[in-house]
Symmetry: C2
């Protein structure tokens, strides 16, 4: 593989990793799942302490219990959700996203695999630097293998219930709940604010690139 091939393929996989909330019930082969989780543990963690763990949930009753917890929080959120997002998406896009989010809340347990990503340590903002990079590696690797995913955190509002359900020790925190499955939709770029709007040079607010300029 040439360097050019490596960079083209990797950037393509990253660019087209979008949230896949509708997935087939088809199971994920063991070696595919292992490749996805092997990608997770290649991420960095604070002082390389790797206090992470990943619970693969396949038991139908446990998946259903997780879905009930997830949906109870998600539906509270839907009532209060913002009607627009900062990339300027209009009502049509928001309606589609909300529909997809409701679908997920109702059908989370139908994904063949749910991953609960965990981390131990002092539960503060910086601790996220030791688990969310692993979660992102997992999702990009999944996409590269044709498997859809979406990063969710709603369950954290009822984390005590989740920890009881999965026998998670008191000093271990859940960071994300990620359903995995073969997607019904197509891979493609998600809607984002342009890079020119969010990249600054040497100080906050000073644009590095003019809007629409290419490099």
């Amino acid at each position: 593989m040439t360097n050019q091939d490596l960079s083209n393929a990797t950037l393509e996989a990253i660019r087209t990793t979008r949230s896949m909330r509708r997935v087939e019930p088809t199971d994920i082969p063991g070696e595919t799942l292992k490749a996805i989780l092997d990608a997770a543990i290649r991420a960095p963690s604070g002082s390389n302490q790797q206090t992470w763990s990943f619970i693969v949930v396949k038991d139908p009753d446990i998946k259903r219990a997780l879905q009930e917890i997830y949906a109870s929080v998600a539906y509270q959120y839907f009532e209060a959700a913002p009607k627009t997002v900062s990339d300027g998406s209009g009502a049509e896009v928001m309606t589609r996203v909300r529909s997809s989010a409701r679908y997920l809340a109702d059908n989370l347990h139908l994904a063949p695999v749910l991953i609960v990503a965990c981390i131990s340590g002092t539960r503060n903002f910086t601790l996220g630097a030791s688990i969310y990079p692993a979660v992102q590696n997992m999702m990009v690797a999944a996409r590269a293998l044709g498997v859809g995913s979406t990063l969710t955190t709603f369950h954290i509002s009822r984390e005590d219930d989740v920890k009881q359900l999965l026998n998670i020790p008191a000093d271990v925190h859940t960071a994300a709940l990620i359903p995995l499955g073969y997607p019904t939709g197509k891979w493609g770029k998600a809607r984002r604010r342009p890079v020119e709007e969010v990249v600054y040079l040497d100080e906050f607010g000073a644009a590095l690139w003019a809007s629409g300029e290419n490099a």
Copy 2:
């Protein structure tokens, strides 16, 4: 590009993205830097709010000021650092890592580019889910383009000084400081605990894969 090529290349890039603390002073072309940051913004964020920003620091005086802040925290940490890590690395590995970490503290400003990744919102554990995935995308994309990086957070202990230096508003938090540059070392897998040790099935502590088993 076939699906097989896409997955092979992406998994290879993820597996070989290790912390590169020693980099050449050679500048990074604008289009390469833009591709790296374009990868960052493809990551998910809570409710797709994208309240992130990325400050590209190239000014030598500002880089030097960041290095002084970084080193002041890093050296305090080195005094108190654990002598082993949980993957069982022995004294030899730890000596090499510590040497590399000290090199970075002393030479952070010599990297051609420092990125300060920022996020606004309630500064808690879950907020990390809206910025550290973007940071990881950035580092994997950089590796795919031949650019080395390392995720650091030491500066957060003196975040007020960093915010003053870079004119960062009060409601914006810095999540990571990432030096970028062409590495002097080779790409390769970093040392990690085996995936079998950290992946469980249906409940915490129940191994999914036996140690050494292949998928």
